[in-house]
Subunit: 314 residues, 2 copies
């Protein structure tokens, strides 16, 4: 609380494929507004829609606060290189200028935001597993290496997509060896609306958009049988391998983020056990991304970033 | 040549996704006509088109021979269960009746046809690897188990699709570790028309139909570097595992079929080495599928099926 401008505000945005979130705080970490809008990732939505959702979340978070008082703005999203695309940049600047911000907006990857939402340290590893899976090596609050994040066609090992695909594969193997169809394999057939029969299962899985295999992930993370346990364990090993490749050094913090990796989630628990078995330090869990982004925005302005982190994300 | 009807003919069909082939022979194994038409697999073509292609190939093979003289007809294709679909069956019977055959047509799997095109034995294992990969356990000239054949979304390990996908993955790994992009990894980028850059490669691979990854397989089977060698070796191990699961017993013959498994093909050679290392008997290579189907059609009519096999397929 020493030396900062009491009127200065910061704006953080966490823009995803299904939702866009924004948060405005002052430099003491007091949250003055939050906003939420539909997905704003320009890699999965048309540019005008994407920027409209981002701006909508920001406007809602600003509320009646003077946008000119915003001294720092950080926007985190997957595939952030899109911001450098000239055609997209024009849409973005047009829409963004209407916000009336008094500062530049700094785009960073969703990994950098998630890492900041887990720790105030400048350097370490963040692992995100939801529909997809990706790890980033973070140094000086910037991404210096991206591991995974290849998408469902080429990778995403350990992701919800991968869990769902493995669930169908486990069911096909069970059918092939004439095993009793129960537990996970039974729920896979029921979810896809087919009898326990090889050809019907293959046809049903192929009739849907491939990414929709991710919808079967909850069957894996809730079933309590060996087939599910095996898939969860393999996911944890693959995710730990991904994180290991993105690790700057063993003393740095590791932050876990994404729907699969919460401390109460089955994959999150298996991953924590796997990392412990590898003698890693206990991983941190990312808080809300918009708060992480707001903290990054405040970083150059704050006399005590660690205290601010505790207030915003503690 | 003892006891058979010298006027009797048999008709064999091998119906695939990209071509339909037919062969007419007499019971001594003398080939009287062959026919070829476009793809006729009803799982990848509309029913009227599929049956028209099958019938076109058959008609061409019959030529001026009397269809009423045909005493046996075997039609092999992938996904043969489609023949039991009532809607498809109607299309098939309508078109087929115009052929004027004097016998029933027996549908069998492409695996049974390929197995018969490799050996006259009634029992063994056939492994087919082309765009996809599948193995069948054959007993009494019928499929008793199918291993793999799940399609690109769920499986196809060791197939051309898999080789192409692994080639892109190897390139992404090479880029991630900052390796020199040369040989296989260079040709992958060139084939996809992108600079050696992670994001560009992911985007280009995802912009195409997934199955088109199979088009990259020849890059793997012609490159002479460690990356290609590693992929070919892993394909051979996966294919050998698939074959092993479909094996009735170790003394039975193993037949290899499909574009990847020819004796001059790199994956075919690696697989033969892998099977030898596992102390399997030397695998046989399938001859033309239509001849295999014709031999199956002649089987109940021929006094010496082994001699006939030699004549037709030797």
């Amino acid at each position: 609380m020493h030396g900062e401008d009491p009127t200065a505000l910061v704006l953080g945005l966490d823009v995803g494929g299904t939702s866009s979130r924004a948060l405005v705080s002052d430099l003491s970490g007091r949250v003055l507004g939050v906003g939420e809008a539909a997905g704003g990732n320009p890699n999965s939505h048309p540019a005008p829609d994407a920027v409209a959702q981002m701006a909508g979340a920001a406007r809602q978070a600003l509320g009646t606060h003077d946008p000119a008082a915003v001294r720092g703005c950080v926007l985190g999203m997957a595939g952030v290189s899109k911001m450098a695309d000239p055609a997209f940049g024009e849409f973005f600047r047009d829409e963004w200028s209407r916000l009336g911000l008094g500062c530049e907006t700094t785009p960073v990857s969703d990994g950098v935001v998630a890492f900041a939402a887990g720790t105030p340290e400048p350097k370490g590893t963040v692992l995100i597993a939801g529909t997809g899976a990706v790890a980033e090596r973070v140094e000086e609050h910037r991404t210096t290496a991206t591991v995974g994040g290849w998408g469902w066609l080429l990778g995403d090992e350990g992701s919800a997509y991968w869990l769902g695909r493995e669930a169908v594969r486990a069911t096909l193997r069970a059918l092939a060896r004439g095993a009793v169809i129960e537990g996970l394999t039974e729920s896979v057939c029921a979810h896809l609306g087919v009898p326990p029969e090889r050809k019907a299962l293959i046809t049903a899985a192929n009739a849907r958009e491939p990414i929709r295999l991710a919808e079967l992930a909850p069957l894996v993370t809730t079933a309590e049988d060996d087939a599910a346990e095996d898939i969860v364990h393999r996911a944890a090993v693959l995710l730990a391998d991904t994180a290991a490749t993105a690790r700057p050094d063993p003393s740095c913090p590791v932050v876990l983020a994404g729907g699969l990796l919460g401390p109460d989630e089955r994959v999150g628990q298996a991953l924590r056990a796997e990392l412990e078995a590898r003698s890693w330090p206990e991983p941190l869990t990312a808080g809300p991304g918009a708060a992480g982004a707001a903290w990054l925005a405040a970083l150059p302005l704050s006399p005590d970033p660690n205290a601010l982190h505790k207030t915003l994300l503690g």
